[in-house]
């Protein structure tokens, strides 16, 4: 029973972030470029235009062997390559180098409700989603009642899913996925949604799948779920396998590492530091609970620290930061100029002597939404003369600890999620207008 079902050798996946970050290439660019091509080739040999197309290895030299019946947890911080690994294994994207051998049918669940159409009914979506996940019509029909029962949607089966609550939607979507019976099940962070009881039910179902001799690969940030479900784990970091082995060992390695690295950018050399001969950045970091980190809990304060050099006596320096959420929206921007802060920090927009300075901004707890935020930094002289400007210097993920979720558990829209003051009062008693004739 211990034969290999997945064998990964020297796997690498390279992304061109020039392409990912900017808009897609336009046909007109291609036309323009091909006209200019002979000249360009003369101008810059060896590197691409202005270094615009940057290449990043999302995975590099990954070797991995998974045996039949294994439940393998894949952990690592954001950008470690976990999702990329799952995408390559489920054939969504091709590897750039290396080789993968897979024995058996792979079912992947990278998102709950892929292909669900809001206009279609629950019944219709079960068939559609089943087909998308790779089930045949016969299979879906055979498991239909089981799926409906698992989803607990009951009499809403023939209602368009756009009228479902988010909880019902997730339950139905997961119910279909849970009845997928591939030899190898690949699951990304999909349990982060749904209420606690349903999550437990899903975990149980996945445990059953694993118990039947199937192989499960499971990505999660939830170490509890990983520990409960997985016998083995792999820790990825910057696209490489950092450690592999028994789950408890790997999870503790991950947690210990998480507290002392990343969430920080430091420019050691003066020449590479962004800025001018007047002001230069030295470091940007995220601090939570006294540690530099890129993972913060939603109910913890987030401190953004910006270290900078002043090289010219008397420079009036100020610092501004932008918080950009995962959809690219600037959730907030703030500057330390005296009138824009709660407390004048004493230095902002005032003459600085030559030296190294640290400016920090604290974002209060229970203020940001969950998910990824990127930090953009501006280093400014004389109020409006930008000396250094960097987007996406560091990023951090706000993790929902459930403090605001004792009642509502669905997705929470908004760039921020501050706790607000609310008031409700009763304005009067209800008097039926139809009985009394009304006015």
């Amino acid at each position: 029973m211990s034969d290999t079902v997945i064998k990964v050798e020297g796997l690498g996946k390279e992304y061109r972030i020039g392409v990912l970050k900017d808009r897609n290439p336009m046909l007109r660019d291609v036309v323009a470029r091909s006209v200019a091509a002979p000249f360009r080739r003369l101008r810059n040999r060896g590197y691409s235009q202005g270094g615009k197309v940057e290449r990043v290895w999302a995975l590099r030299d990954v070797d991995l062997e998974v045996r039949r019946g294994d439940t393998l947890g894949i952990i690592g911080r954001n950008g470690a390559g976990k999702s990329t690994l799952l995408k390559v294994l489920s054939r969504i994207t091709e590897p750039t180098s290396g080789r993968i051998e897979i024995h058996g049918r792979v079912g992947s669940l990278l998102e709950v409700g892929t292909g669900f159409h809001p206009e279609l009914t629950g019944r219709e979506n079960i068939f559609l989603n089943g087909a998308i996940l790779g089930m045949t019509r016969k299979e879906v029909r055979a498991k239909f009642d089981e799926i409906v029962e698992f989803s607990e949607i009951g009499r809403f089966l023939d209602t368009a899913v756009k009228r479902y609550s988010s909880g019902m939607y997730v339950r139905l979507a997961f119910a279909v996925a849970a009845h997928l019976e591939p030899d190898i099940l690949v699951v990304d962070e999909v349990l982060a949604v749904g209420d606690y009881n349903f999550q437990k039910k899903c975990l149980g179902r996945m445990g059953d799948v694993a118990g039947q001799g199937r192989t499960v690969l499971f990505v999660s940030h939830n170490m509890g779920a990983i520990s409960a479900l997985c016998s083995r784990a792999v820790l990825l970091d910057q696209g490489q396998v950092l450690a592999e082995g028994r789950t408890d060992k790997i999870v503790s390695t991950y947690i210990n590492r998480g507290l002392d690295s990343s969430g920080e950018v430091v420019w050691e050399g003066e020449s590479e530091a962004p800025g001018t001969e007047v002001l230069k950045l030295h470091a940007v970091r995220i601090v939570s609970r006294g540690c530099v980190t890129s993972d913060v809990d939603i109910d913890e304060e987030v401190r953004v620290e910006v270290d900078y050099w002043n090289f010219q006596p008397g420079t009036c320096a100020s610092v501004s930061i932008h918080l950009v959420d995962k959809s690219g929206i600037v959730a907030l921007s703030t500057v330390n100029s005296p009138s824009a802060t709660l407390n004048d920090d004493g230095w902002s927009c005032r003459p600085h002597p030559v030296g190294l300075f640290r400016t920090a901004c604290s974002v209060p707890p229970n203020f940001l939404n969950d998910g990824l935020y990127k930090i953009g930094v501006y280093l400014v002289k004389d109020v409006n003369r930008v000396q250094a400007h960097l987007d996406d210097v560091v990023s951090f993920t706000v993790h929902d600890t459930g403090v605001m979720r004792e009642e509502f558990t669905g997705p929470w829209p908004g760039a921020v999620r501050p706790r607000m003051a609310w008031e409700t009062e009763q304005l009067g008693e209800y008097v039926s207008t139809s009985a009394g004739g009304g006015t």
Partner: protein, 290 residues
């Protein structure tokens, strides 16, 4: 191991006997693997079914749209080109049914292009989350147009006696002509959908392309109005000319487009095969780019 169910047993033996799937980087042109597309035919069915279902559910008028759209176009064409501009039909056929007969395949073609052209980009949520042969996406959006066609065709069956056009045995050829029309639409749609992933401005080009293509097809005028010469050659190489002439032959009793149909099939075959290879080549970067 007693609790292992029968389905598990089956899959275990399947796994042992089946050759392993090997994933590694590919470069350049690669085999089409059409067998895999065939293996995913149920998904093709469901995606087509979804497109059709959603279209008729969302529209207040539902099926009526499929009747109104070609019918109103016919009326407008008849007033403008038939009555005001005296375009003529080159025979005794009334202009209204002359244009309606051409509008049937033309709408199938143009609708397919506008839906399928943006289909892969529009299915980004699927492409980045699930594996299946991507070719299914443009194919399903082309196939979804057949329902519209069928409804409009029923209207034609009512229009024919109204305009005193007898039903003839030529109409037996219509299913074949529909297949040819769908293949024509597919061959262009595959190209456009793959190009649109790579170059997003293709989607702005498509409406313009459709408009231009209509003027290069004998929709609003008879092919006999096109003078011999280079322009005529362009018309002949346009596969929609063959399809439309085929429909006019089957429905209105126009002269049979024998030689023209051979050219049409040749052009479609070239477009289709090159389109398939281009799509296959671009397919592997879809998830990264879309």
């Amino acid at each position: 191991m007693a609790e292992i169910g029968s389905s598990t047993q089956r899959s275990l033996t399947d796994v042992r006997s089946a050759a392993p799937l090997v994933l590694k980087p590919r470069r350049g042109w690669s085999a089409l693997q059409l067998r895999e597309v065939w293996a995913y035919r149920e998904l093709l069915f469901f995606l087509t079914w979804r497109d059709i279902l959603v279209r008729y559910k969302q529209a207040v008028l539902g099926v009526a749209w499929s009747v109104l759209q070609p019918f109103v176009t016919m009326v407008v064409f008849t007033v403008i080109f038939g009555t005001l501009l005296h375009v003529g039909t080159g025979s005794s056929t009334p202009y209204a049914i002359f244009s309606y007969t051409a509008l049937l395949p033309w709408n199938l073609f143009s609708g397919s292009l506008s839906r399928a052209g943006t289909s892969v980009v529009g299915s980004a949520n699927l492409v980045t989350k699930v594996y299946f042969p991507r070719l299914i996406i443009p194919v399903s959006s082309v196939l979804a147009g057949i329902v519209d066609f069928a409804i409009a065709f029923v209207v034609l069956l009512f229009l024919m006696p109204y305009f005193h056009i007898p039903y003839s045995w030529h109409m037996v050829a219509i299913p074949g002509l529909v297949v040819l029309c769908v293949l024509t639409a597919l061959s262009v749609a595959i190209w456009l959908s793959a190009l649109n992933v790579m170059y997003r401005d293709v989607q702005y080009l498509i409406p313009f392309l459709i408009q231009l293509w209509m003027y290069l097809s004998p929709v609003i005028f008879p092919i006999s109005k096109v003078p011999a010469g280079p322009l005529r050659t362009v018309f002949m190489l346009n596969p929609m000319t063959g399809v439309i002439q085929g429909f006019r032959w089957a429905v209105l009793g126009d002269p049979a487009p024998d030689g023209l149909l051979a050219v049409t099939m040749g052009v479609v075959a070239v477009l289709f095969v090159t389109g398939l290879f281009y799509f296959k080549r671009m397919e592997r970067s879809f998830a990264d780019v879309v």
